[in-house]
């Protein structure tokens, strides 16, 4: 659970730290689109180059951009194997190496698996760079700015932004509480760090039930506190918005470069 804490915003003064949150978020979306359209070796090389550039611009060591990937290796392995064994087109054209019932180990499946794993890996890298260089408040402000036009079709954008910012602010609180509950259960004999999968699975419930309960408790307390301070009795449109940083030339450049990146990837 501490991993959530470790993935948090890290104060700094790098090029990316100084960029406007909205520009960063937009650039992130463009990069996301670029990553999802990539399916060739040169494409991945280009992404790798861009992620190295992002690491450099945020003054992070490239290995740090991977964040908690190490803990997810099992997940990535599963993802790859699922694709390798269950890829539908395996029967159609591709080379099937081995078959048993509905399970086919196929070359196209393995290629597909590699694609999925690589894309998610790179998405996590960019996500990490975004989160580490942008304070949560700036992210919510950026989202609020981006969804502002939806107010025209009566989407309560201020409320949505409020929900997001409350949720974001609670992440470290929950991480701390989860850490404490984990310690308490460990002291009672739960085996979170056991090598055996069975032990780990058995220790999920002792962790999840108390965390959910604490989430409800906190939500309840917060709702009471907000109501006591008058939230919901007034028109809330336009309130609670934090000051927006001015958009500067480098912000625009950042966004344009990300668009260019997407176009290059998509055009291939």
């Amino acid at each position: 659970m501490n991993d959530i804490l470790k993935g948090r915003y890290i104060p700094g003064d790098s090029f990316l730290h100084r960029r406007n949150g909205t520009a960063k978020l937009l650039a992130f979306f463009m990069i996301l689109a670029a990553v999802l359209t990539t399916d060739s070796v040169p494409g991945y090389l280009l992404i790798a180059a861009v992620s190295a550039a992002a690491a450099a611009m945020s003054e992070m060591r490239p290995t740090k951009t991977l964040g908690q990937v190490r803990h997810l290796r099992l997940f990535f392995l599963m993802l790859f194997l699922m694709n390798a064994f269950f890829y539908e087109d395996g029967q159609a054209g591709g080379l099937v190496l081995w078959s048993w019932g509905i399970v086919h180990l196929s070359v196209p499946g393995m290629i597909q698996g590699t694609h999925v794993v690589l894309r998610i890996l790179f998405l996590m890298v960019f996500c990490n760079v975004l989160i580490r260089t942008t304070p949560p408040v700036q992210i919510t402000t950026a989202i609020e700015t981006l969804i502002a036009p939806l107010r025209l079709i009566r989407v309560p954008t201020a409320e949505v932004a409020m929900i997001l910012s409350v949720a974001l602010q609670f992440i470290p609180v929950f991480a701390q509480e989860a850490d404490l509950i984990k310690k308490a259960q460990t002291a009672r004999g739960a085996k979170f760090e056991s090598e055996r999968l069975r032990d780990r699975a058995a220790s999920v419930v002792p962790l999840l039930v108390p965390i959910f309960l604490s989430a409800f408790r906190r939500a309840d307390d917060l709702a009471t506190a907000m109501e006591a301070r008058g939230y919901g009795h007034r028109q809330t449109n336009g309130r609670g918005r934090s000051q927006r940083a001015a958009v500067q030339l480098p912000d625009v450049c950042l966004f344009l470069f990300s668009c260019l990146f997407f176009l290059v990837q998509a055009a291939r």
Binding site: I10, P11, L180, Q185, A187, R188, G189, L208, V209, P210
Partner: protein, 287 residues
């Protein structure tokens, strides 16, 4: 069991820009059966210290020995450690999760290799120690209980493992006076039965009433270690360390300040009473 710390330092976010040195070169030894109070300003490192002893976090340097064995050494049996050292956090009721009280209390015994009847017997005893009647409560849902009952069930869950050392991290914060009295009664009884107790608390009265020894932390360093009387001898110092003083000690100080010759060796109500009785008998009535 004896607990020994040698030059233990511990940081959060070790080797990052946000590194916080929570404990700085702590050395101390706690003998079998002691009752130790741990005090200090918020953020002075009390929780970090007790979690190190319980093996829940690891030091960055230095060693923690339980019965002479380094608990952070490779191959140390951590399950055994968790059975021998129990820890109760401030809101233990938040750790409940099972469908029935009996199952929740038995949680810690799952991996202990005890026979079923033996485990069941321990659950019964733990619940009875916490003032419940086993038959009434065993099959109730822990979430249907009142706040105070939940807390007692959670503590029973720690007692069931029969730890030789019990750690309480701010156990009485938020308890009413009667709850506090019952709780202190319980820990004293456990201590009399031979369990070593480490109790973190801001409540000087409770610490003075129970502990034979008080450790005071300040910014991660152990600055005082002695009997309650020694620790609370100098009230200016205790107020600087944010640990206050017990009521009887404050009463004694007030008397002294108003010019009445009175002993400073007073931390418990019994001490105050003894002193008053002595003076009364001696005929030197306090005016």
């Amino acid at each position: 069991m004896s607990i020994e710390l040698k030059q233990v330092s511990c940081s959060y976010n070790f080797r990052t820009k946000q590194e916080i040195l929570a404990l700085n070169g702590i050395s101390m030894k706690i003998e079998d059966g002691e009752f130790v109070g741990i005090m200090g300003h918020t953020g002075s490192g009390k929780s970090t210290l007790v979690q190190l002893i319980a093996g829940l976090i690891r030091p960055n340097s230095g060693q923690v020995f339980l019965d002479g064995k380094d608990i952070n050494e490779r191959g140390y049996d951590r399950n055994n450690l968790h059975r021998q050292v129990g820890i109760v956090f401030q809101n233990p009721e938040y750790q409940l999760f099972e469908t029935t009280v009996a199952k929740d209390v038995a949680f810690g015994l799952k991996h202990s290799g005890l026979r079923k009847e033996e485990a069941c017997e321990r659950v019964r005893q733990a619940l009875e120690q916490m003032g419940f009647s086993y038959d009434d409560i065993a099959d109730a849902s822990p979430f249907a209980l009142s706040g105070g009952e939940k807390r007692r069930v959670a503590i029973a869950g720690v007692l069931a493992a029969r730890p030789k050392t019990l750690i309480f991290d701010e156990p009485i914060a938020g308890l009413d006076p009667e709850g506090r009295r019952q709780f202190l009664e319980l820990v004293r009884k456990l201590n009399r039965e031979g369990v070593s107790i480490l109790m973190v608390s801001h409540h000087a009265d409770s610490i003075c009433a129970c502990a034979e020894r008080v450790l005071v932390l300040e910014q991660g360093s152990l600055v005082l270690d002695g009997s309650p009387k020694a620790v609370f001898a100098d009230l200016e110092r205790t107020s600087r360390l944010h640990i206050g003083a017990s009521q009887p000690r404050q009463i004694a100080e007030l008397l002294i300040q108003s010019g009445i010759p009175f002993s400073r060796d007073i931390v418990r109500y019994e001490d105050l009473l003894d002193e008053l009785k002595n003076r009364w008998k001696g005929g030197t009535r306090c005016e």
